[in-house]
Symmetry: D2
Subunit: 149 residues, 4 copies
Amino acid sequence: MKISAKVREYLREVMEERVAFNHLLGIKFESFDPDAPALRFDMRPDLLGNPSRRILHGGVISATLDVVGGLAIMMKLVHAAPPGADGSDFPNMGTIDLRVDYLRPGRGKHFIATGRVVRMGSRVAVTHMELVNDDGQLIATGGAAYMIG
Amino acid sequence: MKISAKVREYLREVMEERVAFNHLLGIKFESFDPDAPALRFDMRPDLLGNPSRRILHGGVISATLDVVGGLAIMMKLVHAAPPGADGSDFPNMGTIDLRVDYLRPGRGKHFIATGRVVRMGSRVAVTHMELVNDDGQLIATGGAAYMIG
Amino acid sequence: MKISAKVREYLREVMEERVAFNHLLGIKFESFDPDAPALRFDMRPDLLGNPSRRILHGGVISATLDVVGGLAIMMKLVHAAPPGADGSDFPNMGTIDLRVDYLRPGRGKHFIATGRVVRMGSRVAVTHMELVNDDGQLIATGGAAYMIG
Amino acid sequence: MKISAKVREYLREVMEERVAFNHLLGIKFESFDPDAPALRFDMRPDLLGNPSRRILHGGVISATLDVVGGLAIMMKLVHAAPPGADGSDFPNMGTIDLRVDYLRPGRGKHFIATGRVVRMGSRVAVTHMELVNDDGQLIATGGAAYMIG
């Protein structure tokens, strides 16, 4: 269950560059573990939510969890059928719904979001996600359902 | 149940300028209706999610719905106790959790997010939110719970 | 967009009799409106949750909302392709996920749950639901995603 | 972090007997682990949902997950301040919202629901829950927020 260097590069380019809003958030790959892929982003002033406390905007958290949930599914799909060189067969996926539990204020220097697939059907997949800060504190958890294929 | 010009200006400054990530998203006030405040943002290339289709990133949608849900509560709190001139008494609120249902691909020139309070307790409030595009099509709905006070 | 008497009788039998747990809850049809079907159930001592206050168990609320969400979809499916006399073609559906917002304590003599489809795809449908008591007070709202076909 | 025999008996009586709808569902204590309490119930014909397949009604699942989430919090509260002999100080709690992900059809002879607290505030607590069948298969997961105190 290894991901080839070529597929890694493809995934990295899609997630970090081609998805424009991921690029705006500064999302980078942290782990290509096919069972628990992870993304990382650094704290930046323009990601803050509360004007008086230095904590992440809830929308940055929900966005990142949605992205890493989708990534967890993509890892499974890409492993089953690696994409062509031209990337034309980017797996077709759509988020059906998303839930985020905000557990602690989003304080930290950087953050790591991890996704895991808990149901992989032929048409619908469900993932659980979590966000921790650089101290390993659990900031938020999430669940999402995606339509695939 | 009118919002004074001074409070409007205060809310506008907080929502559009002081919350950095709102500013990054380009969120602007669309309506100060105290029962259904609305925000607006324009489509921009860096808000796209899918590299091959011109649709909003799901994270932009979840972020905007979270913001407008919080705004709906803030309108109630601010109306009950208008903030001081220095903005020191920015209402203290935290999102407990958020759910988003993605109903249609996020296509459009601009988008309007509206929030409504469905439960206003002394400690917890719950809101329903929706996002429509410039054709009035319903793109997403959401629900969120917030801790207040 | 009328539902024939025969189909009504079929739906009533399925929802009230053949789904055993609906029968245990005492769920009855209140409205066959194809856009907003409604179910009704009476308060009973064994549906109580809190031992010291006479309020509905949250599980009765989540169960009823799940049922009426599924019913809202079934009304659309049955209208498009009425079931055979033997009921063999009971539409095949599965709940993907469910969210319930509990807005007020579940006090009342009877309760009415209403469901509405907000997204009807070929494979996934999403509904919004609400529960009111006999005074018309909103007790809970919900959202759910279902796999169909 | 042990739960005394007296408190166990109190919790058992509340959960199994005094909460009427729990009794109707046939919910029994499986584990008093203060960090991961568990409940158990047996499959019964009147808990079925689908008339043609022998699977649990989704409402039984959502009800049980809500109950075990509340129990996980109660274990923390009871441990901090054991209830009086008369049970008058039954901890005051209310579910704010609940999400359930239905992962597999609810087949089995009996089911075990486990709850864990992921956020314990002074006013709001959040739990994660799961339901497995007698083969250890994960049937559903859930998350819920509760108001306490």
